[in-house]
Symmetry: C2
Subunit: 214 residues, 2 copies
DNA sequence: AAGACTAGATAGTGGCAGTATCTTCTTAGG
DNA sequence: CCTAAGAAGATACTGCCACTATCTAGTCTT
């Protein structure tokens, strides 16, 4: 199909399709002449995936490129899952310096909290994992706010997080080595977060309303 | 204290403090002269909260303003919780049109899924809730991708979301009408999402590694 | 042969989150 | 008393991002 039809079928403007091409989110069409190319169903599907990852998953164009690169370089199920897991951006990246003493204290306390949690959960993750660093930064910020996230509380959340991860992985890995694996895996790994967040917010709203009704 | 000290203690540049003032995220200091004002501990705390909401919570300046406004207008516990719940932005807002038939089908199917879920969970939320609309949009996108989120699967996630919301609300409401209520509530309601996401990602990483090791 | 498309390159736009500058004023130290 | 060092508030500027538009050269359709 021609680019105008690709645009029509996906609802993505032609200029945006070209932009995604430039940014390497979308493979080139099969060139039939110097100024003409033919696109297929794989392009339609890829554009749908791009839209889902950016609008639903909230990924930047750069992050989407990394994730899609992991999808395209799929070797084995395990390698694919790992690549996607690392390609997904870690929410919480920056931070800044304030009171030096208070900061240093919060930092080391947060590190201890994370180490303790990983120990308690028997999680096998390296200290260098971006998720570990992200969690450390998050706990440091919460400590600065004097928010009460004690170990046992953290463990309660972590247990639920583990349950969710189990649900996700069951689904992501159920497509063993089939060609659809990588795409389904990326959908599950990248989009179950936002979905869960929405469900959590709904559950929160329900409980707030029930409180109000008492 | 003067603005330079406020800046030093929080690590926020003076220009940014002024920016937050302009955007009404931060109350004015107590003016002692035409070009001089005095800031207090409440400003330090507020700046910490702003930083946490924007960096950790990922809120925009506009969303942060709305949330803080809800905090400042705290009346009763219930009203405060409700106001914060609605002030928090719903992840997933936009979408676009593509194939008309497929879209209409996905839309109504998503609406039915959401209605069924709310029924199954016995959630008391109005159809007009932004969370309901957000969830509908999310499910529509997932349908477009042919992702397999059947009702029973959705319910499994929803049950976990409910457990998390219970943990959150227990904490948010434990500060009954104390002056610290609103701030602790906003921390719990706005920041437990990113924290949970980090824990989920860690749990995911752990499980991916264990698979690989088999 | 004309008009509608197209690929790819390059340039422009709008929104966001700051950051910098400018003017007018205050005040502490010499 | 005078002056240098801030400070307040207004306005302007910057950098990044995700598009969006334009331009050139080439192709297909009737």
């Amino acid at each position: 199909m021609k680019i105008s039809e690709l645009s029509r079928r996906t609802g993505v403007p032609v200029a945006s399709i070209k932009y995604f091409r430039r940014e390497d989110l979308l493979p080139a069409g099969r060139a039939t002449a110097a100024t003409l190319a033919e696109y297929g169903e794989e392009h339609v599907q890829r554009l749908r995936l791009i839209k889902a990852l950016t609008t639903l998953g909230g990924l930047s164009i750069a992050a989407t490129r990394d994730v899609l690169a992991a999808v395209d370089q799929a070797e084995s199920t395990d390698k694919t899952l790992e690549a996607i897991s690392y390609a997904l951006p870690v929410p919480v990246t920056a931070a800044s310096a304030g009171d030096a003493d208070r900061d240093a204290e919060a930092e080391s306390a947060a590190e201890a909290d994370v180490a303790g949690l990983i120990e308690a959960m028997d999680w096998q993750v390296p200290d260098t994992s971006p998720h570990v660093r992200g969690l450390t930064m998050a706990l440091r910020e919460l400590r600065r706010l004097d928010a009460d996230y004690r170990p046992e509380r953290l463990v309660a959340y972590a247990e639920l997080a583990r349950s969710i991860a189990r649900l996700d992985l069951e689904r992501a890995a159920a497509f063993d080595d089939s060609p659809a694996l990588a795409e389904q895996a990326v959908i599950v790994l990248a989009l179950s977060g936002p979905l869960l967040e929405l469900l959590r917010r709904l559950a929160q709203e329900d409980q707030v309303r029930r409180r109000g009704a008492l």
